[in-house]
C-alpha cells in the first residue's frame, strides 16, 4: 500500500495567486478549512473540520509550518487524533511550478509513520511482542534516516 498521497494539478493562474489561496486564512477557508495559517516557519495553527467518530477523529488538524519558499514551496506538519491527547503524525507539502502561463501544483501528503508503526505492531505475532523494545529502536532509527546495522 502506498503510504504517500500525491496529487498534481494544473491551474491556469499564476503561482502568486495559488500561493495566496494556500497561505491566506480568508482565502484558504473558501476551499480547504478555517484556520489561522501564516507562511512563517515555526508558526502553529489548527484547521477545523467535522469530527468523524468512525475514524476516531475529533475534527481538529494540528499544524506547524516547516518550510516556506514564497510562491514555490510550503510544508507543514499535519497531526490528527481522537481527541484524547494522542496524535497521528503526517506532513503536507506543497510545490508550485510556473508553467504554460499557469501553475503546476503538486501536493504530497506523507510521513504517516505513527499510523504505519501502529499497523506493524498490530500485525505482529505475540512472540514478537516480547522483543518490542528492540523493534521500537529499529523503527525509530529508520525514521531518523539511518539504516540499522
Amino acid at each position: 500500500m502506498a503510504k504517500v498521497i500525491q496529487h498534481q494539478l494544473f491551474y491556469p493562474h499564476p503561482p502568486q495567486l495559488v500561493w495566496d489561496y494556500l497561505t491566506k486564512p480568508e482565502l484558504m477557508a473558501q476551499w480547504l478549512m478555517q484556520g489561522n495559517i501564516q507562511p512563517v516557519v515555526g508558526h502553529e495553527f489548527t484547521l477545523t473540520a467535522k469530527p468523524m467518530p468512525e475514524m476516531e477523529f475529533d475534527g481538529t488538524f494540528y499544524c506547524k509550518v516547516l518550510e516556506v519558499e514564497p510562491f514555490t514551496k510550503l510544508s507543514y506538519t499535519w497531526q490528527f487524533g481522537p481527541g484524547d491527547g494522542s496524535l497521528y503524525d503526517s506532513t503536507v507539502n506543497w510545490s508550485l511550478t510556473e508553467k504554460d502561463n499557469g501553475t503546476e501544483l503538486l501536493l504530497t501528503h506523507n510521513g504517516f509513520e505513527t499510523l504505519v508503526n501502529m499497523a506493524l505492531f498490530n500485525s505482529m505475532q505475540a512472540g514478537w511482542l516480547q522483543h518490542i523494545t528492540k523493534i521500537l529502536t529499529i523503527l525509530n532509527t529508520e525514521k531518523n534516516g539511518t539504516t540499522p546495522a
Binding site: M1, A2, K3, I5, H7, L9, Y11, P12, H13, L17, V18, Y21, Q30, W31, L32, M55, E56, G81, P82, D84, G85, S86, L87, Y88, L105, L107, H109, F112, T114, L115, V116, N117, M118, A119, L120, F121, N122, S123, A126, L129, Q130, I132
Partner: protein, 88 residues
C-alpha cells in the same frame, strides 16, 4: 505490555503488577505507547484503563483512502474557485 493488553484492557495498576518496574516507570511506558497511538486510555471511575488499539492496518488504510479522496475534492474546489473569481 502490548501483549498483555492484546488479551484484555487493564488498569495501569494491574499492568504494573506484571512488571518488575516502579509504578512511575510503568506510567512512563504507558504514556509513550499512548503518544505513539498504540493504546487509548479511558478514565473509568477512579481508574485509568489502557486499551490496545486494534486493526492498525484498517486504520492506516482508512486514513490513506480518506486523504486521497479529500485532497482530490479540495484541489478541484480550489481550481473552480480561482476560475470563478479570477480571469484566466
Amino acid at each position: 505490555m502490548l501483549h498483555l493488553l492484546s488479551k484484555d484492557s487493564l488498569t495501569i495498576n494491574a499492568l504494573a503488577e506484571n512488571f518488575d518496574m516502579s509504578r512511575p516507570a510503568v506510567s512512563k511506558h504507558v504514556k509513550a505507547l499512548h503518544n505513539a497511538g498504540f493504546i487509548s486510555i479511558q478514565d473509568l471511575g477512579r481508574e485509568r484503563h489502557c486499551i490496545l488499539k486494534q486493526d492498525g492496518f484498517k486504520a492506516l488504510q482508512k486514513w490513506l483512502e480518506y486523504y486521497d479522496q479529500f485532497w482530490g475534492d479540495k484541489l478541484n474546489a480550489l481550481g473552480a474557485l480561482m476560475d470563478k473569481h479570477h480571469k484566466k
